[in-house]
Amino acid sequence: MHEFSTAQGIVETAIHYAKKNKAKKVKKVFLEIGELTFLNVEQLKFSYDILSKDTILDNSELVVEVKSATYKCMKCGASGKLGKIENEDHFSIPVFHCPKCGGEIEILSGRQCFIKNMEIEV
């Protein structure tokens, strides 16, 4: 459960940018997270709502977009979205080798967590 401390970072950052832009109110905070992070979106939103009470973020919405991870193959140079396989329970799980040649890969993105933009009232 590291969503609470992550939400704390989100709230502090959003308040900082709201003040910097002289916002009267914040309507939405748009967050992008990579699929290789271990953040649960529901827990993140729940923590955000609690932490934003009595701040300029009160009643604002945290909009979360989960982005696919990307890779570059160290053998054949191919790059793109990380491959996926479905296990027998039909869960999609990422694979950590090149889907083209099977070579070792470098993960280019997928572990990010950042506020892209915010909708504010000035």
């Binding site: 459960m1 590291h2 970072g9 271990f38 950590f96």
Partner: protein
């Protein structure tokens, strides 16, 4: 009243990443090889560090450790009792170590007096994965007593770690655990990855693990 969108582009993990980078530079400056040992509760992280420390000390390699737990200093005492200098971190509520905690722990360490530093993370297969500490190697440990479905349940931590360990293989039969199944699950997500089966009790696989980590 009017609303408008402002660009922010602010990285929430930035502070941790920057501190991890500072730790990494510091370890490099003092020529210390560092290993983040992550893994499930009771998978044998401390026992593996103990065993490897013994072997390293025999070879004249100086070992230090940082142990992270929610509470208590049991792991630290175990390692101290075999002559390993230890800095203990109690995270209180947090389920993982972060670069900031490591940064403070190494302030108390004479990095010139050690060659290898093991960082034992809080027992947890989820949260530590999001927080780089600045180590050379990230190692994930599970054991057969947790069942043979750990890899399929936690594919991402296995996919993003440098070395994966299945410990307590001496108990595999007693637990009715099929080691092949674990290996197959691992190969599905990471055909070229490093997976090492170990037993602290019999010593099996320990040397292989140390080789894989360049120790």
């Amino acid at each position: 009243m009017f609303f408008h969108i402002i660009g922010v582009e602010a990285d929430i993990f930035k502070a941790n990443k920057e501190l991890a980078e500072r730790n990494r530079m510091l370890f490099k400056k003092h020529n210390v090889k560092t290993i983040d040992v992550m893994g499930a509760i009771g998978s044998g992280k401390t026992a593996l560090i103990e065993t490897m420390s013994h072997l390293l000390k025999k070879r004249g390699i100086r070992v230090g450790a940082i142990t992270g737990d929610v509470a208590g200093d049991d792991d630290a005492k175990r390692l101290e009792s075999i002559g390993v200098p230890v800095e203990n971190i109690n995270t209180g509520k947090e389920c993982h170590l972060d670069a900031h905690l490591i940064h403070h722990a190494i302030e108390h360490f004479d990095l010139d007096a050690i060659d290898v530093l093991f960082i034992e993370n809080v027992g947890n297969l989820v949260c530590p994965a999001d927080f780089q500490l600045g180590t050379d190697i990230r190692c994930v440990v599970v054991s057969v007593t947790e069942g043979d479905d750990m890899v399929r349940k936690h594919p991402v931590i296995f996919g993003t770690s440098d070395v994966a360990v299945v410990n307590k293989i001496d108990l595999a039969d007693a637990m009715g655990v099929d080691l092949k199944r674990i290996e197959e699950d691992f190969r599905k997500i990471k055909p070229n990855g490093i997976l090492i089966e170990t037993s602290v009790k019999t010593g099996e696989g320990i040397e292989k693990l140390m080789d894989a980590m360049g120790l």
